[in-house]
């Protein structure tokens, strides 16, 4: 290139720099040609010691054929070491609209603690001289800023729990009044998870709190109907059950109850409806329980056999 042009017109140099930046920015901001579907991996819980495989579709959404040479799957975050891509055999060329199934295997060590581990998965293109970043199985850690992201990010959230749990509903769980209950056990999924994560060592407490959660669901559901609200409250024996499970320590039972309600009323709408339902309870005066039958009454308040549970 004739350098005299820059001497004659110094501003051209800056124009070229800006042009280069614009092209680079556009390339980064442009929609990725390879797209994960779904773009979130948020499965039900996996138990320690368990191995589970997940399959995700990768599709070429670009305008033309995609060369997959030097493409690697990059796993980042806390899932590194837990989640690996199965032998990924991408075709050398992926035509427009072509899709392949990619499997990921989660291997949870038996001693892995109850937790939620998060991470991301993305396809990157890597130069030959950067191959040292790959490990034996083809996964690659983020080692070079030069790597080019070829796909959108596949967000992964794995719940490790020996007690089966539904996926975290996240913000989607706050949209409807009654929330999300994928496992259809009558307990909102976020509450299911709250209970297990906070009371992993007591099956009795978990069952008592699930009983309460189901009752609270009905309380919210029927909040506009006084007759149903009263009936629901009458049938709700969960407080007595908590008293039975906690024994002499009533205040511990009530603190546990308060904590659950705090989690339960996690949106303005749920809070307002709960308040409205309480308004329908004004005047309620339950039939007294004979004090000398209190223990038996509390035991009967549990809709499960609390004594048969180990802890």
């Amino acid at each position: 290139m004739n350098m005299n042009i820059f001497k004659k017109h110094p501003s051209i140099r800056w124009v070229l720099v800006l042009l280069l930046l614009a092209v680079t920015g556009a390339a980064l901001a442009a929609p990725k040609r390879l797209v994960w579907n779904p773009n979130q991996l948020n499965p039900s819980s996996i138990a320690p010691g368990e191995i589970k495989t997940f399959t995700v579709t990768l599709r070429n959404t670009g305008p033309g054929t995609f060369e997959t040479e030097h493409v690697a799957v990059q796993v980042t975050g806390a899932i590194v070491g837990i989640l690996r891509a199965e032998k990924v055999k991408l075709p050398k060329k992926m035509k427009q609209g072509e899709q392949v199934q990619v499997s990921f295997k989660a291997t949870i060590p038996a001693s892995f603690p109850m937790s939620v581990v998060n991470g991301d998965i993305v396809l990157i293109k890597q130069d030959d001289n950067e191959d040292e970043g790959k490990d034996k199985k083809g996964d690659t850690e983020r080692k070079s800023a030069k790597k080019i992201f070829l796909s959108n990010i596949l967000s992964v959230s794995l719940t490790i729990s020996s007690i089966p749990l539904p996926p975290d509903p996240g913000e989607a769980g706050k949209i409807d009044l009654l929330g999300v209950d994928l496992d259809n056990n009558g307990v909102r999924d976020d509450i299911d998870r709250y209970i297990v994560f906070n009371y992993p060592d007591s099956a009795k407490k978990r069952e008592a709190l699930k009983q309460e959660s189901r009752a609270l669901n009905l309380f919210l559901r029927d909040a506009g109907d006084k007759t149903k609200t009263r009936a629901n409250a009458k049938n709700d024996t969960s407080l007595g059950c908590l008293e039975y499970v906690f024994g002499a320590d009533l205040r511990a039972a009530y603190a546990t109850d308060d904590n659950l309600i705090v989690q339960f009323l996690n949106t303005p709408k749920r809070s307002r409806v709960y308040s409205d339902a309480n308004g329908l309870m004004g005047g309620n005066t339950p039939v007294p329980v004979p004090s000398d039958q209190l223990l038996a009454h509390r035991k009967a308040s549990c809709i499960f056999d609390a004594d048969s549970l180990p802890n």
């Binding site: 109850d257 996690n266 809070s271 308040s275 309480n278 004004g282 039939v287 329980v289 004979p290 000398d292």
Partner: protein, 358 residues
Amino acid sequence: MNIRIVALFLVALVFPGVVFAGCPTQRTTVVYVNGIDTTEREAGKSMSLLRDEMLKASGVSVGCVDFTYAYNTNEPIFLDLLEAGVQKTRELTLDMTDFWKQYFRVAPYIPAKWFGDLVDIWYTSHEVALNGASFLLGDQTDEHIAKYRDQLKQGRQVILVPHSQGNFYANEEWVRLTFQEQDQTHIVAVATPADKVADGGSYTTLTEDWIARYFFPIALAAETTNGDTCLDNWVCHSFDDSYMRGQSSRNEIVDNIIALLPTSIPPPPVTSTLSGIVWNLNGKVVPGAFVELYDTATWNLVVSTQTDMNGYYRLENLQSCNCYVSAGISAGYGDAMVTIPTKPTNVTQDIILSAVPM
């Protein structure tokens, strides 16, 4: 049939709650009456905490004292607090659960200034509604009274333990009971905003109760203290966290209730008679006239009869009441107001029929 079984059956007819539970004295139902800003579930917890303390106390026979609660709500006032909470949590980009954590004082509890400010504004703006002069009682009082009567009809004594605004309910409800019912119903007031306890009973208000101090200007003076520490970390007003946690207030409330527990089965209720002669305008006795007695507190028919050949009527086994007695035949009608006193009395009341047809 074994005479003991017969005797037990007969006594059970009169005092069913006493005999079948093996209580040697009259049974008592303690009713916790909550204030505003309390959910129904919380009312149940407060009742259980009170029960727990009562049943641990010496001198209380477990088989003789049962517990329940009379829930009352004033949700329009609470909704104002809730709406302010929704706005504030949005403004501070907090979660809705942060409001409830402050509200329920969920551990580890650190009082937040924003919540304290909310409550301050809320109480200030609702001062009129909270003070006794204009506090509105809902129709829930009717439901409460009906339940108290259920207990009284079983031969039980009822002790109301109202907290905060629940005192307005308890006072009003006690006044609406008949004299006979009032004899068997007592109040042990807690943190009362009222200037009296309707039955003249005892009360416990903490000197450190911030709500009582600032927002109950007409209330009975606070005379009890748990010391300088505010046990609920907030306003020293909570039934559970201040009054039942603090040793002085807790003991005083429990002692006040125990002092009211009966030590024996009460004698059968005293009864009176009402009798008289029904006359017509010509001064002649009226045989066959229908005589009816109504309790003016409820306008329920208490009892009815007919006059004999001598125009004489007699109504027996009457309990204390302010009553209205009427007599009539097809050709005339007459009435009178009568008071049946609490002591056994033979009350006489003649009635003259007017010419007004029935």
